[in-house]
């Protein structure tokens, strides 16, 4: 068996909004096929970190590699770093699926239209092929019968599942989940977490920002605790949840677990 490669490598990533340093030098690897969970209090930089990975936010400095290729910059022959073209950034984004806290489905398109939009326009698949893929993933999130519904007629949990299918339909290398259940009523989080669990079981590489500690403990291969833009604790779920070394992480966990 070969050792799984680091599909995402983040090196000394920094992000500032004006004088505010949100990420202060973050370094980590995500192995292919693993579930990497980021926990931390609000304002700790979790969402910003995720948004930097696909360049929705431009990092102030540092490097990100997806499957060995740098994201957002190129190294010229003479070794200089230059910003990458918009087209290349778009191509890279297509390889990273993202699921947002607020679902962000487009209200003027039906569930299936939301899902096939990017396969049609970005990957330029034939309509038939895009529909097949779309229906496949709609079935995976257990919404096969809702393909012609507009988002306004779906519950929050259903909308989020369509959003997951939309991201998966691009068949990305990595899925990013930005607090995918935080906007849902407690009785609806279960159906979304169930879908995420199934994806993890199939070996989807996932980077998950979440407040669902049960999910993090049960599904993750690795857990990272962020505090004020720095990695405070990092390790297997057992070590982070059962024997955290950092005092801050202990405090955080004692607050959220009770």
């Amino acid at each position: 068996m070969t050792t799984p490669e680091a599909i995402i490598r983040v090196v000394n990533l920094r992000k500032s909004f004006g004088p505010l340093d949100v990420l202060c030098g973050i370094t980590f690897d995500v192995r292919e096929g693993s579930v990497f969970t980021i926990i931390g209090a609000s304002g700790s930089g979790k969402s910003t970190l995720l948004r930097c990975l696909n360049y929705l936010e431009q990092p102030t400095s540092g490097e990100i590699y997806l499957d060995g290729k740098p994201i957002g910059f190129r190294i010229e022959a003479d070794g200089r770093r230059v910003p990458d073209t918009a087209a290349n950034i778009n191509r890279m984004r297509a390889e990273l699926g993202m699921v947002f806290q607020q679902f962000n489905l487009w209200p003027h398109l039906t569930a299936i239209e939301n899902i096939i939009e990017a396969p049609l326009r970005v990957k330029r698949l034939a309509r038939k092929e895009a529909l097949d893929i779309g229906r496949h993933f709609l079935g995976k999130v257990n919404l096969f019968d809702k393909e012609n519904e507009y988002p306004a007629r779906l519950s929050g949990g259903q909308q989020q599942r369509v959003a997951i299918a939309r991201a998966m339909a691009m068949q990305p290398k990595v899925m990013l989940f930005d607090e995918a259940t935080s906007a849902l009523d407690p009785e609806l989080t279960g159906e979304v977490l169930e879908v995420m669990r199934a994806l993890a079981k199939e070996g989807t590489t996932m980077l998950v920002v979440t407040h669902e500690m049960g999910f993090a403990r049960e599904v993750s291969d690795r857990v990272m605790f962020l505090h004020n833009g720095q990695i405070e604790e990092d390790g297997s779920p057992e070590s982070v949840f059962n024997a955290p070394r950092s005092e801050r992480c202990r405090q955080f966990l004692s607050k959220v677990l009770h």
């Binding site: 929705l56 087209a87 778009n90 489905l105 306004a152």
Partner: protein, 233 residues
């Protein structure tokens, strides 16, 4: 007293001249569609430019919108018809003239593009940033996002306000008789000179304008209701 008023209001005179009047009305309709098309095209360009990342583009396009929003249509119509040809003639060193129709379409189109660009801008701004994030995260290009995600939603939001602007534009086409376009009002004044009976003629014209706009508004209401039923909210 009532009898004499009824007699002088007798709209049959209006009916007698129906062919000429209808021909006049057609001119209004042509100018309306020409002006509306021009205004809409310019409004999208200016509205998008007002949201540009570049400061100079934003300042220039905002200046354009403010200039034409705040200049009365009548003044601008006269300016385009009488002054603009002088400027062009000097610049090109040849004699240059607008036909009254071209001047009318140009003046009304540009004039209303100022108002409409504000509607376009507001419509685009009303689209939540998160919809654009989702599209970007899927690798869609800026142009693709504008065309597939922003425009279809923005246009639906713009529609009620834009329709008000089109109604105003249609009303404003009644000004074009002042630069000798042979529109409805032009024909009415010509017939009035001839018949010396302004009451039925001008009243008829007013009622006709009003009727057309009410009918158009009904159609539009019906259409937008159907859109809403399809879940396009």
């Amino acid at each position: 007293m009532w009898d004499s008023l009824r007699q002088s209001l007798d709209l049959t005179l209006f009916w007698e001249y129906r062919t000429i009047l209808l021909r006049g009305l057609l001119q209004n309709i042509y100018i309306f569609f020409g002006g509306a098309l021009l205004a809409t095209a310019l409004a999208f360009a200016i509205g998008a430019a007002r949201l540009s990342k570049r400061g100079t583009v934003r300042v220039l396009s905002t200046g354009y919108a403010e200039l034409f929003r705040n200049t009365p249509e009548y003044v601008f119509l006269i300016w385009v018809y009488y002054v603009l040809p002088i400027i062009f003639s000097r610049l090109l060193a040849t004699k240059f003239n607008f036909s009254p129709y071209a001047a009318a379409v140009l003046a009304l189109g540009v004039s209303y593009s100022g108002f409409l660009s504000e509607t376009v801008r507001a419509g685009i701004l009303a689209i939540p940033r998160t919809h654009i994030d989702a599209a970007m995260a899927l690798g869609m290009s800026r142009w693709m996002i504008m065309r597939r995600i922003i425009a279809p939603q923005a246009i639906r939001r713009m529609l009620p306000e834009a329709l008000n602007q089109y109604v105003s534009l249609f009303k404003a086409t009644s000004l074009v008789s002042l630069i000798a376009v042979e529109d409805l009002m032009y024909q009415v004044s010509m017939i009035t000179v001839h018949e010396m009976r302004p009451l039925p003629l001008y009243t008829g014209a007013a009622l006709l304008y009003c009727g057309i706009i009410i009918a158009a508004a009904q159609c539009i209401q019906h259409l937008s209701d159907r859109w809403r039923q399809r879940g396009w909210a």
